[in-house]
Point group: C2
Chain length 318, copies 2
């Protein structure tokens, strides 16, 4: 039997570790979306999670797993997205420094958000080489621990706690859909859900403009994501060395949706459910409303993760 | 002892009557808003209620109180707002017709929303005289029962169930704030809250551009609202013959806020709580964040009703 970076025991341990620190988010339903999807949908509202995204689960688990000696030297990551804010808050809760490397082109509001959670921002050139060089220099100088956004066992296990809670609240789900970017959420939720309920079917939801996971599944081998182009800006990266094997072997399939479908789903959620989801967070709902997923048989009750709600309210999305 | 149009027994009976039909909405909190308000705030999320507003409580109670013979002839109201949609759905749930009189100038989207819930729309001239004439003609022709939007004992009792639930979930509240337009929500919640917890302090929240309740309280006598001018389009009307005595005698005070304060509170709720509230629904939060309310002493925990979430997503509010 293959061994993966994360198993059910690790997710259960993460759930115990982060209890009381991370919100147990509600599960919400909508008659209108059920009617449009042709089945009953249960939305796990990680948009209502602290920092507005599921990322706080994995970041908290990773920070809490450090020894006191390790933690005291702090944590490092390079990210301009939700993981950066999540790690900054998780570090502050433990009372240790978080060094966040961000490209100098990142919006001022994102830098301010990280600093609002107590993160120490270091700007770098907007390319991967300089991001990694800058982060490595910080690690060398401070002795801090690098916590990557998804390809890390403790991060994957933390994200999986969302599926544990979802199945506790709705045990008779037939399927679960989560968005997939780097794959931490999908891999963690898949291991958790199929661990507690082996027959549950797990699917990824991906924008067509960053469809590496769908292409990888079709090819049966890892494919990189070059030049992503989608409104779902949290899902641009390729899957990782630790997340891909789980997705390859345990996830049934990855469905893609267009940006127009994402926008339409996002608007429906705002209008009918009165919940703010970000484009990346609405991709699972968009899949459930699309013809491909609707044609699946034997699927009555579907859990869907609203992965985040961090959007700029200075513009309209439609 | 004065007798009012509604008492705790009526609210409790309403709660029994509408249980399972009306959502028991969640109570949500936000560390950010607590910090800004200087105390702990508990938001009763009626924006997540069916039809997106508390109005479904009162409409359901009123429709369910009718005898079978009365109900079979249907219900009538004149409204272009949330009450119209609420009454249409409440009637459909009972399987009886709802005749909704709307001004011909009402946005097409509001007419479509009422019709989406099965309401039968009759258009009239955009003035009160023609609205009442048209509604009365419908009553005469069909034998249907007029259910006004707020000044009706069963409507007031239904709205009060929101406060019953809020105090069940958070029994140690020191105060409750609700928006006030016609006063159905404020009067019902006040009777309910002070019925179960006599020491709880109840306040109204009103836009400065439609401040008849605040002026009435200041004068100790009912004042009409002429020429309202506010973004909070659900709070334009004067208080009613049944709601005003309750507000006069049992509500401690009414705080007013400017439209800029309402917009700022609304944006905070969208950004930090990821919840869509309409301008009228954010007025209670705006009061809690304002200097007047903040200067009250002895108030640690405050319940606030997010009264609705029905906004057009075709425009920005800031």
């Amino acid at each position: 039997m293959l061994t993966y970076a994360c198993d059910l025991a690790a997710v259960r341990a993460a759930a115990d570790r982060i209890r009381g620190i991370v919100h147990r988010t509600p599960v919400m339903t909508s008659d209108t979306l059920d009617r449009l999807a042709g089945r009953r949908l249960y939305f796990k509202c990680e948009n209502l999670q602290k920092v507005g995204a599921f990322k706080y689960r994995g970041a908290s688990n990773a920070v809490l797993r450090l020894t006191d000696a390790e933690a005291s030297r702090g944590v490092v990551t390079h990210s301009s997205g939700n993981h950066a804010q999540a790690l900054a808050l998780a570090a502050r809760v433990r009372g240790v420094p978080a060094y966040i490397v961000m490209p100098k082109t990142a919006p001022a509001v994102k830098k301010a958000a990280v600093e609002g959670y107590g993160g120490i921002v270091t700007l770098c050139e907007p390319n991967l080489a300089d991001r990694e060089r800058t982060a490595n220099a910080l690690v060398e100088r401070t002795g801090a621990t690098l916590i990557p956004p998804f390809d890390h066992p403790d991060v994957i296990a933390g994200q999986g706690t969302a599926a544990l809670e979802l199945l506790e609240d709705v045990p008779d789900l037939d399927a679960i859909i989560t968005p997939v970017g780097g794959g931490g959420l999908l891999a963690g939720c898949c291991v958790a859900a199929r661990g507690v309920k082996p027959g549950v079917r797990v699917f990824g939801a991906e924008p067509l403009g960053a469809d590496d996971a769908a292409r990888s599944k079709a090819a049966g081998a890892w494919q990189p994501q070059a030049a992503p182009d989608t409104i779902a800006d949290g899902l641009l990266t390729s899957t990782g060395q630790l997340t891909w094997p789980i997705i390859r072997d345990l996830v049934e399939g990855v469905f893609t949706v267009t940006d127009d479908e994402i926008r339409a789903a996002m608007r429906l959620v705002w209008e009918r459910m009165k919940l703010i989801v970000e484009p990346s967070g609405a991709v699972g709902a968009a899949v459930a409303l699309g013809d491909g997923f609707k044609s699946l048989t034997g699927v009555q009750k579907v859990g869907i993760v609203f992965s985040g709600g961090n959007v700029s309210l200075d513009k309209l999305y439609w």
